[in-house]
Homo-oligomer: 204 residues x 2
DNA sequence: CGTTGCATTCACAGGTCTGTATACCTTACG
DNA sequence: CGTAAGGTATACAGACCTGTGAATGCAACG
């Protein structure tokens, strides 16, 4: 029934097609709502092949999220490493990557969506999703540290919240250009964190 | 099949029980994953009664979101109207309401989750969810206007992003106290928007 | 040539899903 | 008393779901 997640970079040709079809359908239609029959049919593959390659739907879901995370990480890492950027600009570079990313992602964050559909913390996909958020938060903290910002952990958490909010709002109210808004806000937060001591309002 | 959404405040006793059971199960287990059979059984009601009262699962889902929105709105509106608050403090008051709200909502935002599961924009629940976000954004803008903030529309969008991000992060990484972080950040944003001209970083 | 791995075809098991049909019971109220 | 509304009980239709079984084709590689 269950199986270990295969390495998305070394897949047989059929498995590749299956994964690509599943990625599209899961993201656009929702994980629970999309059945393996449709995935197999749209991949030009039989269900048997699907199960031979992935072992279970849950594993296919986890593989889908895993590969998506790899693509996202790669995009962010190249954006952050752009040579023309200052250390300060690098801190908000993930928001630039997000701007590209959402062009092909009108339905919000695939990881948040997966968490919404799969409440069971034991589900393999659940941990992939949580891991992605943890990675992003740690990345922000590292970038803030490199930019010699006073409280990098605090800034990182703020930026992660902004980041997720922008993605979520894009699915809910596409007419608001939430990514640009979040990007500007992130720059302001970095500004505030660098220019001397920061006025911090009481949370009442 | 489909039916009009009933008024959640005037329900027969059975319908009340059905809606309450459905609310819990939908939120905790996901909408698609929870079937009407288990809802009926856990409500101590037959499926026939459920269909007599709500007509379809889709309508039941929409009613669930509608009532949840009413409760949330009420909580926010009382928080915003607290007499001891200044106009400036009112702007971030929804974040205080959010602090209470998430005590009973460890699985993130029900509306975002619903959008994740029901991509069809024609689905009645879809519009209830989008409406909630629009309402919150407009509320922020109104509060910012009342507090004589320079660009209320801009600030409102920033605060909505923060708000949604805090909710989403709570589901993904509960160990981060995202609501408190977002509340503090919101206060800082309001501070920055009130104290003279605001340095706005280039989004690169 | 023979093996090995990949994929195919087709059928099926065992559930669960939404939604409906029929017939009966109970309670409130005019 | 009589009626109507709300609810009960049970069974069913028809579709879809995940996952399995058994037999076969085919191409590459030793």
């Amino acid at each position: 029934m269950n199986a270990t997640i295969p390495d998305p970079t070394t897949l047989t040709p059929s498995a590749r097609r299956i994964l690509e079809t599943a990625s599209t359908l899961f993201y656009e239609g929702g994980i629970t709502a999309v059945g393996v029959d449709v995935i197999a049919e749209r991949s030009g593959v039989t269900k048997r092949t699907l199960y031979n390659r992935f072992g279970s739907k849950d594993t296919l879901v986890a593989t889908y999220l895993l590969e998506r995370e790899m693509r996202w990480r790669h995009l962010v890492e190249t954006a952050v490493a752009a040579p023309e950027l200052t250390a300060i600009q690098r801190v908000t570079a993930p928001f630039d990557a997000l701007g590209e990313w959402v062009q092909q992602s009108p339905r919000g964050c695939a990881f948040i969506n997966a968490l919404a559909e799969l409440p069971d913390p034991e589900h393999p996909a659940h941990q992939v999703a949580a891991e992605e958020k943890r990675w992003l938060c740690n990345l922000f903290e590292r970038l803030a540290t490199d930019a010699h910002i006073a409280d990098p952990a605090d800034l990182a958490k703020r930026l992660v919240c902004l980041h997720e909010g922008a993605l979520a709002m894009r699915a809910a109210l596409p007419e608001i250009d939430s990514v640009t808004i979040a990007n500007q806000t992130a720059c302001d937060l970095v500004d505030a964190a660098t220019s001397g001591h920061q006025t911090r309002g009481e949370p009442l």
